[in-house]
Amino acid sequence: MTINAGPWTHDLTFGDLQNTQVTLGGASYFKLLLDVNEPGGSKSLISLDQLQFYTSKVGSQTTSNVGSLGTLRYTFSSGDSVILDASRNHGSGSGDMYAYIPTSDFAGTKTSDFVYLYAHFGTTDNSQAGFEEWALVNAAPILEMNALFPIIGFLRWPSPRNICGDVTRGSWATYSFHEFILRCLAEATVTVASVFRIGWRSVANGLASRVILRPPMFALQPEMKVFSGSANRELAQRICNYIGVPLGQATISAFPDGETYVKIEENIRGRDVFIIQPTCPPTNDHLMELLIMVDAARRASADRITAVIPFLDTHDRIEKINRVFR
């Protein structure tokens, strides 16, 4: 079995931690998010019995002697613990607890130094199943190219299931399309504000600011191609109309035996491809179509492929399946 560096556990630098700095009651803290996953019922409790932070000039350490990781910056005392109830929040991935660690504990640490968070769970209340995950909460979101593309916001706000009502029923009664897009833009504009050195407050509060920011956002994505599956072409077309990018041409039909046939009708070699496809009912058909479109785009040598799934119907089940195979 080969173990490679994965996305879940990795080195942190003090610079990474500094991005989470917030002020509470006049004091400065680093802000982290803990997400716990436990069974329901009487087994939903889990205890965090030790939390320590170390800093070191040496990264990627593998020692089992935690005390040798570096300079101890923060620790629980003997007997200290935090008791959490995973059932208070439904599902995983969106957090259960914020930990605010005083920045003063890290005095003298250099930006390039490595930070190690050591955590121990289960002594007071056992860990039963599922994983516990620590994450940084960035005060200013880190720039990613996808963050400049507002439709990615459909994945983020307010939640896929809430969006389902708008998308699959074709009703924009809850949120007008215009308002909906602007709300989705809000997340991206945080990043854009930092790129263009525009005050976040003025961007967040001003509709005009968002409109002004729109052209440079897409000027940075000249290689972008947007395609739609058959689940909701109207949504994809309206998104493209709004952002001023033509909807890509793709033929979606079926072979005589009923299998889905997809042909990308444009040259997408080296392009940044976005495929919009909600997995609303019939879920399996739409999901399979999306996978075939991704495969077609990959075979056509797209540089990067992003599936935009406004409504991910099988999300919870996929999470459970993933846990089985972890």
């Binding site: 556990t9 089992s64 935090v82 008791i83 607890m97 769970f121 860990s127 516990e132």
Partner: protein
């Protein structure tokens, strides 16, 4: 007499040490608490938009689990991506 005094002092020190242990109960009775200057606050599900959340340590084991973030290896119960089996 001196020995009794020493025992009493030790007992007081032990009691004081035990008494310092803090349990922050976020199961419903309270939504926040402090341990050694750090604040721990229960939160309802939070938006995890692009670039906002950066996971860096995942742990999984039962009945106890421990670990620290590193790119170097898996000394404890931290989870990494298994690519070949």
């Amino acid at each position: 007499m001196i020995a009794r005094g020493i025992v009493l002092i030790v007992a007081i020190i032990i009691c004081a040490t035990v008494g310092r242990a803090t349990v922050v109960d976020l199961t419903g009775s309270n939504d926040s608490g402090y341990i050694n200057g750090a604040q721990f606050v229960f939160t309802t599900p939070q938006p995890t938009g692009t670039g906002v959340i950066q996971p860096f340590l995942r742990l999984e084991n039962s009945p106890v689990e421990q670990g620290y973030n590193t790119s170097g290896g898996t000394p404890f119960d931290d989870k990494r991506r298994t690519v070949d089996a």
